[in-house]
Amino acid sequence: MMVDLSAIASAWPYLMKGLWFTLQITLVGVTGGIVFGSLLAVARLSQTRLLSALATSYVNLMRSIPLILVIFWVFFLVPWAIGWVTRSGRPVAVGASLTIFVTFVLFEAAYYAEIVRAGFRSISPGQYSACDALGLSKLHAYIYILFPQAIRNVLPILLTQTIVLFQDTSLVYVISATDLLGAATKIAQRDGRLVEMYLTVGVIYFVICFAASQFVKQLQGRLAYGAR
């Protein structure tokens, strides 16, 4: 069975459009996920029992269920939720993109939260004491001393999770979205070019992810706090 390269060439622009959407989801997911995840991590460390319990429950829930299930939840429920909030009484159609962005931020935040939490735990306890002894307010201590160290300690893991996120975006297939895989599927079904499309997409994902993971490996070497 020969692979038809011209089919790939003609499909390329559409595939790139899909890749662009994939990158957008990744970008929104990373940014929103790390921000929300950091808040969750700090909430888990909080002295307020309720806040800490809520954050822990959220993280554990999101990490126990499949992403596809979360995609379905958000996809089916967000229109109802918006309809309820705006009192229109009926589900309000919401763009698929927004649904997808919200899903990925909510889902990946739970994973980033665990990583950031590990980052905080990797800081020597004496650092907290030093901040206290100097009279730094809790807010200043977190912003200037603790958070920077936590992130720096787990940066490679954060980046690896981002590569995982990039791969997870392919699951939006289940709601027929046009990410990279979705674009390939649509062409495959229209032109009957299954083999070419899926192999191409496999190669594209491989090249991007492999390059990214090599970059993370290099970074790991350079992140030590400077030898003497």
Binding site: S124, G126, Q127, S129, A130, D132, A133, L134, G135, L136, S137, H140, Y144, I145, P148, Q149, R152, A224, Y225, G226, A227, R228
Partner: protein, 242 residues
């Protein structure tokens, strides 16, 4: 300057401080010594509120500490602390380590904070290292920066929690020299240390602790030459052999 009044603290069923009392005058240098687990570190950390206590009262200058009194921010500005593990902020340069509390806590201008930092670094003998990161310094150098960092807030009292215990022997003296100089300038100092040479020559008074209690307090030379309690005698016999 510092009044510790009948302070007690327990961890669950284990009582780590039992009714400790002491008075430290302004300009005095007091060394707290004793066997491991005697509560020395815990006691010194109650003075700046890093450890809470269940009964008793502590007064530092005009500030009062009592069980349940949680607002210690103001007190911490007038009490400086140096830790056994230095605890410099690894992601900041030496300069930033010294200026950050000045700008964020005391709200000094960046210029004033930097000027102060340079002055103090010169005082501890580390002017050339101002842009380096802690990981690029030796243990002794890091501890001297830590002392400068604490001094930058112009404290009235300096607390030292085993400042040389984590250092290689050849670096102990450079830190003790700085502490001696500080004492000579009239700083009120409370030091938990095993360095008996320093205690003997620089301290005004020794507080000997064992099992959570302050067993004996005496003038420095008197404590070493003529300890009164049995426990103090046993302790000195063990450590002065070498």
């Amino acid at each position: 300057m510092i009044e510790i009044n009948n302070v007690s603290k327990s961890y669950g069923s284990f009582q780590v401080l039992k009714g400790c009392s002491a008075n430290i005058a302004s300009g005095e240098v007091v060394v707290i010594c004793g066997p491991s687990g005697s509560g020395k570190s815990t006691l010194i950390k109650t003075v700046n509120g890093l450890e809470t206590f269940e009964s008793g009262e502590i007064t530092v200058g005009g500030f009062r500490l009592a069980p349940g009194l949680t607002n210690v921010a103001a007190l911490r500005r007038s009490v400086g602390m140096v830790f056994q593990s230095f605890e410099l902020f690894p992601h900041l340069t030496v300069l930033s380590n010294i200026t950050i509390a000045q700008t964020k806590v005391l709200k000094r201008s960046k210029a004033a904070a930097e000027e102060k930092a340079r002055f103090l670094l010169a005082r501890v003998g580390l002017s050339g290292h101002i842009e380096k990161y802690p990981a690029q310094l030796s243990g002794g150098q890091q501890q001297r920066v830590a002392i400068a960092r604490a001094l930058a807030l112009d404290p009235e009292v300096m607390l030292f929690d085993e400042p040389t215990s984590a250092l290689d022997p050849e670096m102990v003296n450079e830190v003790l020299d700085v502490m001696t100089g500080l004492a000579g300038q009239g700083m009120t100092m409370v030091c938990v240390t095993h360095e008996m040479g320093f205690a003997r020559s620089v301290a005004n008074r020794i507080l000997f602790m064992d099992g959570g209690e302050i067993v004996e307090t005496a003038e420095a030379t008197k404590f070493f030459d003529d300890p009164q309690s049995e426990r103090a005698k046993a302790f000195l016999a063990k450590i002065l052999k070498h």
